[in-house]
C-alpha cells in the first residue's frame, strides 16, 4: 500500500504512464506511452508462466469482440486475453449482426453499450470506424484494424517481439516488405518503430510502395537484394489477394521472383536477423516455406506475444474506465 493513501479514495500505487480510455492508433502516441504498453505487456506475458494463468484485473467487465471484417487470430487473441483477465466476452461477427439488416454501426454499438459492454474491440473495413465509435460511446474502444488505416495491437506485438529478441528497438534497421499501400499493419508499425528510434525501410513493387511514404520519415526502395544485408529485422506483409487489382503487379509468380523471401535471398541477411510476418502467411509467395519454419523466424513468437500485448491494452484502457459510470 502506498504511504500517500487518501482516506476517501482508493489507495494510490504508482500510476502507469497511460491515460486513454481507447486505443485507436499508434500515430499520436508518445514514446513513453508506447514504452508503457510494451512494459505492461512484459508483465502480462509472465501470467502465462504461472500455475494459474488468469488474473482478476477485469473481473466483472464485459468485452465485446465486434468484428465486421473477418479475422481469426486477432479475434481469438483478444478473446483469450480477456479470459485471462477474468472479463466476460461476447463475440459478434458481421454476418450475425444486424448490420446486414441495415442497422448503422452507431446503432449497433449503442445497443452493445446498452448491454453494459465496457470494452469494444472493433474491426471494420472503413478507416476511422473505431474513432467514430470512441467519440460516441463511454465504453473503451480498441481498434482491431480499420481499413488501410491502422492496426495498433499488431504493431505493438511486432515491436514487443523485436525488443524481446534484440533487447532494444532504437538504432535497429527494420525492413518492411510487401504490400504497404493496402496495409494498416505497415502504417501502425512505421509509427511505432519511428517513435522508438528505429530506422525503417519500406520495400516492394513501386505500385504497392509509392515514394510518397517517405513523407512519414522512412526510406523507400524497390531493390530488395540491396537492402537485405543491412536489415536487423525483416517484416513480411501478406499480399492481400482479396484487395488486389490487376494493375498492381502482373502475377504472384513475378512478385515472388522479385520480392519473395527465398532461401537464396535469405543467405544475404545478417545471421541474427529476425524474420517476421503478421500472418496468415502465403507459403511460397511472400516467404519460402522452410524459412517460415526456420530458427530465425519469430512468426509464432509474434502470436504468443500478441496475447500479452492485448492483455496489456485491455488492462490499461479498460481496467479503470467503464466499471463505475
Amino acid at each position: 500500500m502506498s504511504p500517500t493513501a487518501s482516506p476517501a479514495g482508493p489507495i494510490d500505487p504508482a500510476p502507469a504512464a497511460w491515460q486513454h480510455k481507447d486505443l485507436l492508433a499508434i500515430q499520436g502516441l508518445t514514446t513513453a506511452e508506447i514504452t508503457t504498453l510494451l512494459d505492461t505487456a512484459a508483465a502480462f506475458k509472465q501470467v502465462g508462466t504461472r500455475e494459474i494463468k488468469k488474473v482478476p484485473a477485469l473481473r466483472g467487465r464485459t468485452l465485446v469482440n465486434f468484428f465486421v471484417e473477418p479475422s481469426t487470430r486477432t479475434r481469438a487473441s483478444f478473446e483469450l486475453a480477456a479470459h485471462r483477465l477474468s472479463a466476460d466476452v461476447l463475440n459478434i461477427s458481421a454476418t450475425q449482426s444486424s448490420l446486414t439488416k441495415g442497422e448503422t454501426l452507431k446503432d449497433t454499438a449503442r445497443n452493445l453499450e446498452a448491454l453494459l459492454a465496457d470494452i469494444i474491440v472493433l474491426r471494420h473495413s472503413s478507416a476511422g470506424a473505431a474513432q467514430f465509435l470512441a467519440e460516441r460511446l463511454q465504453a473503451s474502444v480498441i481498434n482491431g484494424g480499420d481499413g488501410a488505416h491502422e492496426h495498433p495491437t499488431q504493431a505493438l506485438l511486432d515491436t514487443f517481439t523485436i525488443r524481446e529478441k534484440k533487447g532494444r528497438i532504437a538504432g535497429l534497421h527494420v525492413v518492411i516488405l510487401g504490400d504497404i499501400l493496402f496495409s494498416r499493419v505497415a502504417r501502425s508499425n512505421i509509427w511505432a518503430l519511428l517513435a522508438l528510434g528505429a530506422k525503417v525501410t519500406l520495400c516492394g513493387p513501386s505500385t504497392l510502395v509509392p515514394k510518397s511514404f517517405e513523407r512519414m520519415g522512412v526510406t523507400v526502395t524497390h531493390d530488395l537484394d540491396a537492402v537485405l544485408p543491412e536489415a536487423d529485422v525483416i517484416n513480411l506483409l501478406r499480399i492481400q489477394h482479396e484487395r488486389q487489382r490487376k494493375e498492381y503487379f502482373p502475377s504472384l509468380g513475378e512478385y515472388t521472383s522479385l520480392f519473395g523471401l527465398t532461401k537464396a535471398r535469405a543467405e544475404r541477411l545478417k545471421p541474427d536477423a529476425l524474420i517476421m510476418h503478421p500472418g496468415p502467411i502465403n507459403r511460397g509467395v511472400e516467404i519460402d516455406s522452410d524459412l517460415a519454419d526456420s530458427a530465425r523466424s519469430v512468426i509464432l513468437d509474434q502470436v504468443t506475444n500478441g496475447l500479452a500485448v492485448r492483455m496489456a491494452v485491455l488492462y490499461l484502457c479498460g481496467g479503470v474506465q467503464g466499471g463505475v459510470k
Binding site: I11, F44, A57
Partner: protein, 191 residues
Amino acid sequence: MPPTPPPPAPGATLILDRAAIERALKRIAHEIIERQPDLAKVALIGIPSRGVEIAQRLAALIEQFAGRRPYAGVIDVAMHRDDLHRHRIPPRVARSELPLELAPFTVVLTDDVLFSGRTCRAAMDSLSSFGRPARIQYAVLVDRGHRELPIRADYVGKNLPTAHGQRVHVRFAATDGIEDSVWMSLDPAAA
C-alpha cells in the same frame, strides 16, 4: 546529525529518520533470522515499489548477521487489486521475480506502510497464482492502523497511531532520491 531533509508535504512531521529506519530494519532482520533458522528456505518478496527496496535491504542485513543472503524478489499486485475501477489512471504492473518452485519457501512479503490490508490481500492472491509457498509472513516498516481486512503483520518496524485522514510518506534515497525518512502529514480533521 545530518540536516533534516525537506518534508514531502507542507507541515508533515518527521517520524523516522535514516538512523531510525536502519535500526527498525536491523531489528526486523534479526527477528526473521530468529524465526526462520533455515535461511535457504526464506524468500523476501517486495510489494512494488518501496517494498522491493525493503526486501533488498533486509536480505543484505540478514546476510550481514547470519552469513547467508536469502532470496529477494518482487510480487506484482496491480493485476490482483480489487479497486482497479476506482482509479483514474491504471496502477503500473510489475514483473514478478519469485523462486522457481515456491513450495519449500517461507515467503516474507515486505511493504513500506500497512494501512487497510487490501494490498497484502492482493499480494497473497497474486502469490497463490504462481504456486503454494509453505507459509506466508508479512513485514512492514510502518503499521498505521485502520485495517479493513483481518490481516496483521508478523514484523513491524514502527507502530504509528494515525487519524484516518492523515497520510504517511515513506521516502528512500534509492527509490525517491530523498534521504531515507518517514513522515506523517497533519490531521486534516484537526487542521
